[in-house]
């Protein structure tokens, strides 16, 4: 980038508040812009105002949630988002986030198209390579992409439009105020038009010191807020979409790794190397920290060869550990309640949740080309900057010699926050001195990949005279690995965090993501972690699927004890009218309370996170408690400002399916240091037959800034499904997934 030409821009407006930001003109032959906030919003200050109006004491997440933390950390580099208008009239935007199916490239393209008055088909959003100068602004997580880029992308595009208009004005000798933009062109009052493509060179070079620009008022949006299909849908349905392993990188040959019989085991010796090297198609073999890598002409041959390896292994880090032992340790770790149930009536409950594989359909994979003096990596990466740093250190190259390309990938659900596939591919490439195309087998992905940690929950609520007096939730969890750059972000924003004391990163994340949406008097929610050396990672909604899911179950039981209907009870205790409107919507649309045949029941759940809230009402067929099926679902969500309602509905649908799976059947059994499950025939993620055929989703009208929505759908649906199951069967679910037999023969270790 060259020296920026600064032009000051001022934006004033009621909802947004007074801000000043600069528009930088990056030296380029065509118009390329980036914007910066000079006075970023104080996310904390803004949210405190909201929290001040809530009944009951605010919890940390009411004051400042994890999303606010991410936005704050990313603000100093928000001006480095780059938008280019090309000579063929397209707008190209480099998004420093990972698209993994959540639809952010479509939503961001919509924002650019809206602000530029350009057809959506002329906007190209590509994923940026790892850009270390972005510091903490290249992490995809916390349902934060739209929240964090909504302002900066619109400002960049608005500045670009203003420059294009100014260029047309200069060409025609007309005041810019007389000109309009439409359909990718500037239009003069006399009907003359100039396409953006014809103006972009001039717009890039014109000195415009006093240029002002501000994004359109949201009331003028015609594309943003309307249901829009994915920009990459055609590539997906024709097979043209190129995922990491579909790339043709010169010389990168199929490679797989033989992994140990227990988690984190290591190679002591390879006992039949010569024999395996002589197998059909085998090209090379190397011992790496995670196992024995085999490269072959095809993945089928690589798999045959790695299966044929005779390896002597050193032990792993949790070899003697099985589910029973883990559960025992979690129960011991749960902190005691503060309030003894002496003088009041109370409800107590304990819950257990199993490990859950992220299981994205595209297994862990990467391409790496490591040379003497440089390296190039291709992978689906949600934290590419940390990946680049770690890989550079591991292969002994300066960071500046490592290029990391972020590829669109086949699902994540939190999994691709970690870059273990990319790191392993780099280590193999260095060891073999060749480019490698690394793929994990499904079995390895489930057993040696990452998982949502098992958790144990103790909840106690005391009540009297129709009021809930105290509410305590003690969570004990196997440690969730958050070492993907979040630590740096939390450290950098520590002064602004609404949590006091010397909390761990995990406790801070817990407190900035989990809150009780009800006015339950004195509320405490505490996390205590058990550090076990296993491969874990945040799983869609981090702690909330389990923590808030369990709470929604307890809320039903509390309502029953207090003689109230579950919807009426929630309605009475929710803190805001906005929340009540969402609950009312599902109760009305789902015909709450309608008569159901024996074995069927309705259930309801509610959840509030990242400035969004949702309610879910399901109907379950549990005539056979061993094979329940959710047959109908009604979901309502208020996300503040939906950018693409169609994509938002897809996210809620995904959250519902995740909840169906993990509540009823999908989990991992840990047996002597390794998950037993090794494929979808054993890890029972929902299939078509487990999915309801009748799902209706209602998006509440826009009113404010966008909230987070990518993970929102899971916790409410977990509660709704468990509550429906309890009402249909009379069985109070306490351990999840509810049906969790080992109904298969495990694959050999």
């Amino acid at each position: 980038m060259g020296d920026p030409t600064a032009s000051s821009t001022e934006l004033t407006g009621g909802a947004v508040g007074r801000r000043r930001f600069l528009t930088f003109l990056v030296a380029a032959p065509t118009l390329t812009l980036a914007t910066t906030d000079l006075a970023p919003d104080s996310a904390a200050a803004a949210s405190v105002d909201v929290a001040a109006g809530l009944p009951g004491l605010p919890q940390p997440a009411d004051i400042m949630d994890l999303g606010d933390v991410l936005i704050l950390a990313g603000t100093p580099t928000a001006h480095l988002l780059v938008l280019e208008v090309t000579e063929d009239g397209e707008a190209h935007f480099e998004l420093p986030r990972a698209e993994v199916g959540q639809g952010i490239t479509t939503a961001v393209a919509m924002l650019v198209a809206e602000e530029l008055d350009l057809p959506l088909a002329k906007v190209r959003v590509r994923l940026a390579d790892a850009r270390p100068e972005l510091l903490m602004n290249q992490l995809t997580g916390g349902s934060n992409t739209i929240r964090s880029v909504y302002g900066p992308v619109r400002r960049a595009a608005a500045a670009a439009r203003a420059r294009l208009v100014a260029a047309a004005g200069a060409r025609w000798d007309l005041a810019p105020g007389l000109l309009a933009t439409r359909d990718g062109a500037v239009v003069a009052p006399d009907g003359r038009t100039a396409s953006y493509g014809s103006l972009t060179s001039l717009a890039a070079t014109l000195p415009l010191p006093g240029l002002t620009a501000k994004p359109k008022p949201e009331s003028e949006h015609t594309l943003v807020g309307t249901p829009t299909s994915r920009v990459d849908a055609r590539a997906m349905v024709t097979g043209a979409m190129r995922y990491t392993l579909d790339l043709d990188v010169a010389g990168a040959m199929p490679t797989m790794v033989r992994r140990p019989p227990t988690i984190n085991g290591t190679v002591r010796s390879v006992d039949n190397e010569a024999e395996v090297r002589a197998m059909p198609g085998v090209i090379d073999l190397a011992v790496v920290p995670t196992g024995v890598a085999v490269m072959a002409e095809t993945f089928g041959q690589a798999q045959d060869a790695k299966d044929a390896l005779d390896v002597t292994w050193n032990g792993g880090t949790v070899d003697s550990l099985s589910d029973a032992g883990i559960r025992k340790r979690l129960r011991a770790a749960a902190l005691p309640f503060a309030v003894p149930p002496l003088l009041t009536r109370y409800v107590d409950a304990e819950f257990d949740f199993a490990f859950v594989s992220h299981a994205p359909l595209e297994t862990n994979c990467a391409i790496a080309d490591v040379r003497e003096d440089r390296a190039e990596i291709w992978a689906g990466l949600k934290s590419p900057i940390v990946a680049r740093q770690t890989i550079a250190a591991a292969i002994g190259l300066p960071e500046g010699r490592v290029t990391v390309h972020v590829r669109q990938s086949g699902g994540s659900f939190g999994r691709r926050l970690f870059f273990d596939g990319a790191l392993e591919a780099a280590q193999i490439s260095k060891a073999m001195a060749r480019p490698v195309k690394l793929m994990w087998s499904r079995i390895d992905d489930m057993r040696h990949g990452r998982a949502r940690p098992a958790t144990h929950h103790k909840i106690r609520a005391t009540y009297a005279l129709g009021r809930v007096l105290t509410y305590e939730h003690r969570v004990a969890a196997v440690e969730t690995d958050l070492r993907h750059g979040l630590g740096e972000i939390l450290t950098a924003t520590a002064a602004g965090l609404p949590v006091a004391g010397n909390l761990s990163f995990a406790q801070t994340v817990f407190l900035t993501t989990v809150k009780v949406p009800y006015d339950f008097g004195v509320v405490t929610e505490l996390l205590n972690e058990v550090p076990l050396k296993m491969h874990t990672a945040s799983w869609r909604s981090v702690y909330s699927a389990n923590t808030r899911g369990a709470e929604e179950i307890l809320v039903d039981e509390l309502a029953k004890k207090m003689g109230r209907d579950p919807v009426a009870f929630r309605r009475a205790f929710l803190k805001t009218d906005r929340q009540r409107r969402v609950l009312d919507k599902v109760a009305a649309e789902g015909d709450w309370g309608r008569a159901m045949p024996a074995g069927f029941a309705q259930g309801v759940g509610f959840h509030d996170e990242y400035q969004s809230c949702t309610a879910c009402l399901v109907e379950i067929d549990a005539r056979d408690p061993g094979e329940p099926r959710v047959v109908r679902a009604v979901i309502a969500a208020d996300v503040g400002r939906p950018i693409n309602p169609r994509g938002l509905e897809a996210q809620l649908l995904g959250g519902l399916t995740d909840a169906i799976s993990t509540t009823l059947r999908a989990g991992l059994h840990i047996d002597r240091g390794l998950p037993l499950e090794g494929s979808y025939s054993q890890f029972h993620y929902a299939r078509q037959k487990d999915s309801p055929s009748d799902v209706r989703i209602f998006i509440m009208p826009a009113g404010g800034e966008p909230g987070g929505a990518g993970e929102l759908g899971v916790p409410a649906a977990v509660g709704a499904i468990a509550n429906a199951y309890a009402r249909a069967t009379g069985i109070r679910p306490r351990s999840f997934p509810i049906n969790f037999d080992v109904d298969f023969t495990p694959f050999p270790r």
Binding site: A233, V237, T363, R442, S679, Y685
Partner: protein, 151 residues
């Protein structure tokens, strides 16, 4: 090594390969046909679903020797030039895909089902085993019904 000649998406190909090499790797690693995806390798996730003489198969468990002299169709061969198959169109209309990785297999499974039965029942749609980890099943069902109505 034996040579096997068969058709892929209307093009005749000859491949030198061991008889038991799974078709998936012949397609992906030898022929560069990457539409069929690996998801499990054992006919469980169905992400690689393609057609052999018009019937749904899972190339991860079909040996190359079994396809000699026959017609293999992958997702890349479904459209007629730029004109999409009605099932692909229905997929676009319902905006089914999220991450998209399973969708070539889902579409090929749906096309095979609609070939057998013009108006599939919910129970017949339920019988589709293809895993969608993003959980797009509701839209898949709607798209199949929409395509059925079109065809």
């Amino acid at each position: 090594m034996p040579a096997y000649t068969f058709a892929v998406n209307g093009r005749t190909v000859t491949v030198d390969a061991p008889a038991d090499m799974p078709l998936l790797w012949v397609l992906r690693d030898r022929l560069g046909v990457t539409g069929p995806k690996y998801g499990c390798g054992i006919d469980v996730c169905k992400a690689c679903t393609s057609h052999l003489d018009g019937e749904a198969i899972n190339p991860c468990v079909v040996a190359v020797s079994e396809v000699a002299g026959r017609e293999v169709t992958t997702i890349e061969g479904l459209a007629d030039g730029d004109a999409l198959h009605p099932v692909q169109e229905a997929w676009l209309e319902q905006d089914v895909a999220q991450c998209g990785y399973c969708q070539p297999g889902q579409i090929m499974a749906a096309v095979a089902l609609l070939r057998k039965t013009a108006n599939p029942t919910d129970a017949e749609i339920d019988a589709i085993q293809n895993v969608c980890r993003c959980g797009t099943y509701v839209r898949i069902r709607e798209a199949i019904k929409r395509a059925a109505a079109k065809m």
